[in-house]
Amino acid sequence: MTPGGVLLEARHVTQRFRLPNGQVLEALRDVSLAVREHEVVALVGPSGCGKSTLLRLLAGLARPAEGQLLYRGQPLDGVLGAAAMVFQSFALLPWLTVAENVAMGLETRGVNGAARRDAVARAINLVGLDGFEQAYPKELSGGMKQRVGFARALAVAPEILLMDEPFGALDPLTAENLRSQAVGLWRDPATGVNTMVVVTHSVEEAVFLAGRIVVFGSNPGHVREELVNQLPYPRKERSAQFEEMVDRLHAILTATLLPEPEPAPAAAPQRLPPFARVHVAEVTGLLDHLLTRPDGRGPVFELSEDLGVDYDRMSAVVRGAEQLGWVTTPGEIVQLTPAGREIMAMDDAARKDATRARLSRHPLFARILAMLKEGEGSVEDEEVLADLTIYFPFIPADSLFQTIIEWGRYAELFDHDADAARLTLLTS
């Protein structure tokens, strides 16, 4: 099917949220996206890039702080009735049976009596759930629950199917099975669904489903790049063209997730690089794994697959190791540096010393150490948090602070007193 006219459009959309601690996070900044008829669009990117936020905006579930959403050229006012949504957590009402859950959207659309029973039966039949009509969701497996989710969406014969990581909570086997069924539903004219927007975490899933893949960058969320995928349906995951498309998407994602270091920031001394929010054990685990590989190197996506970590988390760990000078990342290759090898050969105490030396040179830690010295060896959490909020308005300050404490404690640079809510300098 070839894409037709523009169906649903986001124009220069910006969205902000207020966190419980008062910090205002910008989730999306100036995002424009047009979804055409007969098209499947996948939204991919690191967590916190606002792709789910955009999906909720497209559904009319939230209003943007700035910008406009249009359905067939008309401004979107309230929930988009032409769309249905499938959720990662299924979002089924536990006190309703499968049939009642599927019928959720019908009554308000004026479908009653026999017509409603027909619609429910048809939707249940489409996803292969016949016989389960009177079951309660808690009696079903995850895959079955998501089938109910699909049936509920299909029952209202939506033009647009919006899916928020629909296979994210399922085991790989079930996910694969449901994925091909989703493509089947889209291609089947009987369902009425002609357009799909799917938020996903999996590169293969995006390539399998979508005709157009939109890659988001974070801090704040923005569109980095779009990739058109013209592989014919049904797609074969083992084919060479499929693999090639996956590799291309990997390359784009790597450029987003592991950007090449910027040229010397001498011009703007007040800009601090944030420290990747990863645990000490994750970084040493990565180095350990690299040691077992020939030449101590490997592509980031392969590493994430081998270690069973999703690519988004993997690249955060790689960024952390890179900030400490233990790996370099030429392209999508992660390469253990001599310093990285050295540190893995050390005993615990020496490793802590080396980490301490590295961390003290990191601008963010250097700044906190300076604050500590200024405060005669102790500084209140509040003060550091306020500082972090100013320097990194797009990162939840609490979580970055937790990372800083963990690394600081590990390297015995400073300690944290949770009762007094203060950081204290450790003098060695």
Binding site: G81, R109, V111, N112, A115, D118, P158, G192
Partner: protein
């Protein structure tokens, strides 16, 4: 087999600590207004009230009185549910309302409402001088004030913690607010509402007994009910009738538990949101019976088909399925959708509240101005005495309930065995026993000045016991195994595991126990036992006495001081302590 921990009303866990804000000031001002209004009402009281209903102490009359009491409790509970739904919904939907209503609820649930009882009774009596309506209203209103707050908190919390995807799903389905309320919000809150209703009912009996047996000085405001039956039986020294009244109360509590709460608790398991099974699902023979019975099912089917016919009759003719798809489902519009109208509405509301608050403060000031320095000195010293009693009662209750709670809570078998017993015993209204306890204490030579402490223990101890049991029962099995594996001595086990793990729950239990003790002081320090008045110095007796002698300025002063002490102590001591304990000793984060 994992034991389902005893559940506590959500209101028992401290809400996040807030700084005193403008809303609190408004609420406190409105509270002043309420005090002034109740006192003003009482002032209207003129004619001596006709002698209240005659109570028949023959055993034959007892079932009738028991039913009277039961219906008061049930009516009040129904009103409390309505209030809770309206309140929780409003607070969860409108941020402006939330900012005002939450502190209000917070204060309302901590002020000693019994302090308002004498004024309220007198006031409502004057509205309906010839009949018992005023008394009945006062009784129901008092029970309501004991039942409503935790229900409202529970519903509000359920609404606030409803998972976002479920809300999204119902909005994508095009559900309007009324449908969302009935099909999503109310079912999701059902569990909390039932469990809290059970606790509310128990709290309500306490107030009902006080109300039914209410006397002030020479005046008798008793209502026909099990509480007044008991008090008349005591007056006449009729031991048989006293025993029968206690039996009737226990029978009533057990039947309500078995016939109403048990089936409801089992039934609402259906509305559990999380997938985790709750360990042992309680059984209910009544629900089993109803499920097996044909008649209710037939009635339900009939009702359903009647509903369907009615819906069909009002519907336009069927349209084909495909054409039924609307282009756009508009967002539900509220009457105040227009921003100007909304601002105007909020403005009027705020202005109205400000005027009411201002008037309240002014009237209270006019009343309090009449008090001389000696009155204030009396108030202060009485408040000090009662404060010492309250703290003493909390300490005494802790002394027995903490070890008992740990022992019961750490053994699943014992907890399962004791749970129903404790529930019934805890539901038993302590004021019914007050006179008996006083007589017993006098036999061993303890005067009311000390004896009142024992009575206040009775009013507050269960909160501590329940909280400790549920906290200890919730300790992860692995932690218990760890202390066994490392062969800690039993002293070390208590010190390093059970006491720290129980501490957060203990601290929240103290908040409620102290509240119960303050309430109890109003009854305990000034009561009629066997025809004679027993009174001891204290804030509680001061309030009762001021009402009896129509000293309205002193009454207003007493209520104000008690409210200020309780609310202030909660804000400045209990809450910070509880939230500190929560962050420091929370097991398993």
């Amino acid at each position: 087999m994992a034991l389902k921990p005893l559940r506590l009303p959500l209101a028992l866990t401290p809400p996040p600590l807030r700084r005193l804000g403008l809303a609190d000031v408004v609420v406190l001002c409105l509270l002043c207004g309420a005090i002034a209004t109740v006192v003003a009402f009482a002032r209207e009281f003129q004619a001596p009230f006709l002698q209240a209903v005659r109570i028949d102490v023959s055993p034959v009359a007892l079932p009738k009185y028991t039913l009277f009491s039961l219906s008061r409790g049930v009516i009040a509970l129904l009103i409390s549910y309505l209030f809770a739904l309206a309140f929780g919904w409003t607070a969860a939907k409108f941020p402006v309302a939330e900012r005002l209503l939450l502190p209000m609820l917070d204060i309302l649930q901590s002020i000693p409402v019994l302090g308002f009882l004498p004024g309220l009774v007198l006031g409502l009596m004057s509205l309906f001088p010839a009949r018992n309506v005023g008394l009945e209203l006062a009784a129901i209103l008092m029970i309501f004030t004991a039942q409503a707050w935790n229900l409202a908190f529970s519903f509000y919390n359920s609404l606030k913690s409803l998972p976002e995807p479920l809300r999204d799903a119902s909005r994508m389905a095009g559900w309007r607010s009324s449908r969302t309320f009935w099909r999503l919000e109310l079912p999701a809150a059902a569990q909390g509402l039932v469990w809290n209703g059970m606790l509310s009912m128990a709290g309500g009996w306490f107030f009902l007994m006080v109300n039914e047996a209410f006397r002030l000085g020479e005046r008798d405001y008793r209502l026909p009910g099990i509480g007044s039956y008991m008090s008349v039986a005591l007056d006449r020294g009729n031991a048989q009738a006293v025993g029968l009244a206690i039996v009737a109360m226990v029978v009533m509590i057990v039947s309500v538990d078995q016939l109403l709460w048990r089936p409801l608790v089992v039934w609402v398991e259906k509305f559990r949101l999380d997938d985790t099974a709750s360990g042992v699902v309680p059984g209910s023979w009544v629900l089993e019976f109803l499920r097996r019975a044909r008649l209710p099912r037939g009635a339900a089917a009939l009702q359903r088909s009647a509903y369907r016919t009615a819906v069909r009759a009002t519907e336009p003719p069927q349209r084909p399925f495909r054409a039924a798809r609307p282009l756009m489902v508009n967002a539900p519009r509220l009457a105040f959708g227009n921003p100007i109208a909304r601002k105007l509405g909020v403005g009027v509301l705020v202005a109205g509240l400000a005027v009411a608050a201002g008037l309240g403060v002014w009237h209270l000031y006019l009343l309090l101005r009449q008090l001389g320095p000696s009155d204030w000195a009396t108030l202060a010293s009485s408040a000090g005495l009662t404060f010492v009693r309250v703290m003493g009662s909390v300490a005494l209750a802790t002394a027995w309930a903490l070890p008992a709670g740990v022992v019961i809570g750490r053994s699943p078998r014992l907890a399962q065995l004791m749970q129903p017993v404790i529930q019934v015993v805890a539901s038993f209204p302590a004021p019914m026993l007050f006179p008996l306890v006083i007589i017993a204490l006098e036999r061993v030579g303890l005067r009311l000045g000390v004896g009142a402490v024992a009575l206040m223990v009775l009013s507050g101890q269960w909160y501590i016991l329940f909280n400790v049991i549920s906290a200890v029962a919730a300790i992860p099995e692995q932690l218990k195994e760890a202390v066994t594996v490392f062969r800690l001595s039993s002293l070390a086990r208590w010190r390093s595991l059970y006491l720290p793990a129980a501490f957060p729950a203990l601290a929240t239990g103290w908040v409620t126990a102290a509240g119960g003790a303050w309430n109890g002081s109003i009854v305990a320090e000034y009561m009629q036992v066997g025809g004679a008045l027993r009174a001891t110095r204290g804030l509680g007796s001061l309030i009762s006495e001021a009402t009896a002698h129509a000293n309205f300025a002193l009454l207003a002063g007493g209520i104000t001081i008690m409210s200020v002490i309780v609310v202030g102590w909660n804000r400045l001591v209990w809450r910070p302590l509880a939230s500190w304990a929560q962050t420091r000793f929370q097991v398993g984060q």
